[in-house]
């Protein structure tokens, strides 16, 4: 019996992404051994990596470390170590994996991770971040700065919100000068912001290619490939080069009419993080039905650029603040999140929505019941709600998940066929 065609994307960009991420880990290893460059821990959502560029500093992303471990099926050990220390089963498993790594001296690549010179908690919507980074600072005996970013209750951030965040960014600059002994290079910072704007333009164009039929890539499973460089290299010429090459590769696929399968049968929007410990298995559950994700909310945690927002090199501090306030998915209110999904469903021409609830993440998961109601009843779009976890392998029920996905596509297929025969 022929195996279902593997739908994984294995183009040039996949390898280049691997190389770039390894290079980043090498740099962190160097920092661990030599003390240079200076490093700062950051959260992915609403990150101000451009600021670090002003010091030639390297970011440490504990969330990336955690997901790398989960994808390699290595997350359970550190999670258990953290639980033995007293972390609750209900705690976010990213936190437990990260803390467990400190306790057990585990790193994703086997190389060293430096003690961060600054633990910079860019608090955007997720209050777990604060406790996580407080614990990190204590464990690593590093300096902690909690950058308080007001949650988006209204449509736009207020002047007071912007000023508040900008003031804190400048405090961080002063702090980093003191800690690193390096002077903040404003021009280098502005240049990083310029690179970011270019990356965002390219990333946005790539995302828009998924509006085509067939889409040249999967905006959920393949987007993961592109998201690492987005966080680490956004403010750099290397990042610009990478995304330029990625856009070229995707455009070539569009020009050749190449999708993921011989026939793109279903187009989906997916909400929520993936189950990293079962990434491949989860992907295959959709590949079986020749379903391509054309848009995802998870791929906008590092910035929501496809609707036109960009960093502004003429106002670097303000635009960094604006990104942290308004242009990442976790700091946006529920109505804005629903609106984002509605636009994806309509403008990217999707057949249905998959909501993947993850036990760890209250931020993503809160409101998803209401979201499901809104999409099924108000928008009339078929929606599937499934549950597992993004980091902890113990919360994935494969048979149950597969069953629900199969049932969803059976119904979707039935209605598509029905529409066809009644046409």
């Amino acid at each position: 019996m022929a195996e279902a065609k593997r739908s994984e994307y294995r183009g040039n960009i996949h390898q280049r992404q691997k190389d770039l991420m390894l290079k980043w880990y090498d740099r962190l290893n160097e920092a661990a051994e030599t003390g240079a460059p200076p490093t700062a821990s950051l959260m992915i959502s609403g990150n101000c990596v451009e600021l670090l560029e002003g010091f030639g500093a390297a970011p440490i992303y504990p969330e990336v470390n955690a997901l790398q471990l989960a994808i390699r099926h290595q997350s359970l050990d550190p999670i258990l170590a953290a639980e033995e220390l007293g972390y609750a089963p209900d705690n976010c498993a990213y936190v437990k994996a990260d803390i467990g790594c400190y306790l057990k001296g585990i790193t994703p690549t086997g190389g060293k991770l430096p003690k961060p010179d600054l633990v910079l908690c860019n608090f955007v919507g997720c209050n777990t971040y604060i406790k996580w980074f407080e614990h990190t600072a204590e464990l690593t005996r590093s300096k902690l700065y909690v950058l308080d970013v007001p949650f988006q209750r209204e449509d736009e951030p207020s002047r007071a919100d912007l000023d508040y965040v900008v003031r804190q960014l400048k405090e961080v600059v002063a702090l980093l000068e003191q800690i690193s002994g390096r002077k903040f290079d404003y021009d280098r910072f502005a240049e990083a912001v310029r690179c970011s704007a270019q990356v965002e333009e390219l990333w946005s164009q790539i995302k828009h290619l998924a509006r085509r039929t067939p889409s040249p890539f999967d905006a959920y499973f393949d987007a993961i490939t592109l998201m690492g460089p987005l966080y680490v290299y956004r403010g750099t010429p290397e990042g610009v080069e990478f995304f330029r090459a990625a856009l070229e590769e995707m455009q070539a696929k569009v020009d050749a009419g190449e999708g993921l399968y011989d026939q793109e049968k279903f187009r989906l929007v997916i909400e929520g993080p993936p189950p990293y410990p079962y990434f491949r298995t989860f992907r295959d559950m959709f590949a079986k039905w020749k379903a391509t994700t054309v848009a995802s909310t998870y791929s906008t945690v590092g910035g929501l650029w496809e609707f036109g927002a960009r960093h502004d090199p003429d106002h670097p501090f303000e635009s960094v603040a604006l990104h942290m306030l308004a242009h990442n998915v976790t700091n946006r209110n529920y109505l804005q999140r629903y609106e984002q999904i509605r636009r994806y469903l309509e403008e990217w021409n999707a057949d249905g929505l998959i909501i993947h609830f993850v036990k760890s993440c209250r931020l993503f998961s809160a409101g998803q019941g209401d979201m499901r109601d809104y999409v099924t009843k108000k928008l009339g779009i078929p929606t599937l709600y499934i549950e597992s976890d993004l980091e902890d392998p113990r919360y994935f029920a494969e048979a149950q998940t597969r069953n629900r996905i199969d049932a969803f596509f059976e119904a979707l297929e039935h209605s598509k066929l029905g529409a066809h025969t009644h046409a």
Binding site: K265, A407, H414
Partner: protein, 279 residues
């Protein structure tokens, strides 16, 4: 005359139905066996039993659709479909005015919202927890030393149903023992047990649009106490068929007939979906 079959391999029991298309669609026979540890054998036995009951030979069956958790273990299956699709189809066949299906199985509960042609519009299932499923009833019956067939009718005699403190299928035992020690009457305890499950099931079902007619499917539908409790809370009568346990197999058989009919091309019919292939 076209003959097709549906086989529903559930966690506790395996059901098989043979249907024919001869002018109209008609159920020829049904069979039921315990699933046990050997799923493949259970499927074989159920299929053979239903063919015998129908008075036909196995090769006369033109198409077999398997459903239930064990559907990929049916060696003679031509295609597999989820029990969600099959319960919906089955309920619609038995009661064409069905718009909502509530299925209560051994360890699964689900609610399915149907369109007027019987197509699945939406569904919701219990996750990570067997509270409000047949297992809850089975555990309650066991701890009280009463047979599963008797707990339903006994619960109907409750005059002061107790309030269950838990919906946990495991912890219900200690709850019941505690009530027995307090001298509560078995019928009142059982009344409380049935109400607790009904509430749990309905709070799950309310996540989709509940619209009449509501058809109850699954083995638990044979429990008159459960039907009563659900109707009490819903405030409406439920459609309950004597075939409630066979609903999944009936739906599978209907899909199988449609395949024979060539009226429906599903990707489920592709060879790579046949039993034995790995996904």
């Amino acid at each position: 005359m076209r003959i097709a079959a549906g086989v529903d391999v559930g966690s506790t029991q395996t059901k098989a139905v043979v249907m024919t298309e001869n002018g109209g669609r008609e159920i020829l026979a049904r069979a039921l066996v315990d699933t046990g540890a050997n799923v493949r054998k259970a499927a074989d036995n159920a299929f053979l039993a239903v063919c015998q009951a129908a008075g036909i030979h196995a090769p006369e069956v033109g198409f077999v659709v398997g459903t239930g958790y064990g559907r990929y273990n049916i060696s003679f299956g031509n295609a597999q479909m989820t029990e969600i699709s099959c319960h919906a189809r089955g309920a619609h066949f038995v009661c064409p005015t069905t718009r909502t299906v509530i299925d209560m199985g051994g360890q699964d509960s689900k609610a399915i919202s149907l369109g007027k042609d019987g197509q699945v519009l939406d569904f919701v299932m219990n996750d990570k927890c067997a509270a409000g499923t047949g297992r809850f009833l089975a555990n309650a019956a066991e701890v009280m030393g009463i047979s599963l067939d008797d707990i339903g009718p006994l619960s109907l005699r409750a005059t002061r149903a107790v309030k269950m403190a838990t919906v946990c299928t495991v912890f219900v035992e200690s709850d019941i023992l505690s009530y027995l020690a307090q001298g509560k009457k078995p019928e009142d305890i059982l009344g409380g047990v049935h109400l607790a499950i009904a509430k749990r099931t309905l709070s799950l079902a309310r996540r989709i649009a509940i619209e009449p007619d509501i058809t109850l499917t699954g083995g638990v539908a044979r429990n008159s106490g459960m039907v009563y409790a659900l109707e009490e809370i819903l405030g409406t009568k439920l459609q309950v068929s004597p075939d409630s346990q066979f609903m999944g197999a009936i739906g599978a058989a209907v899909f199988a007939l449609e395949k024979l009919d060539q009226s429906f091309e599903f990707s489920a019919w592709r060879p790579e979906h046949a039993a034995g292939s790995r996904h």
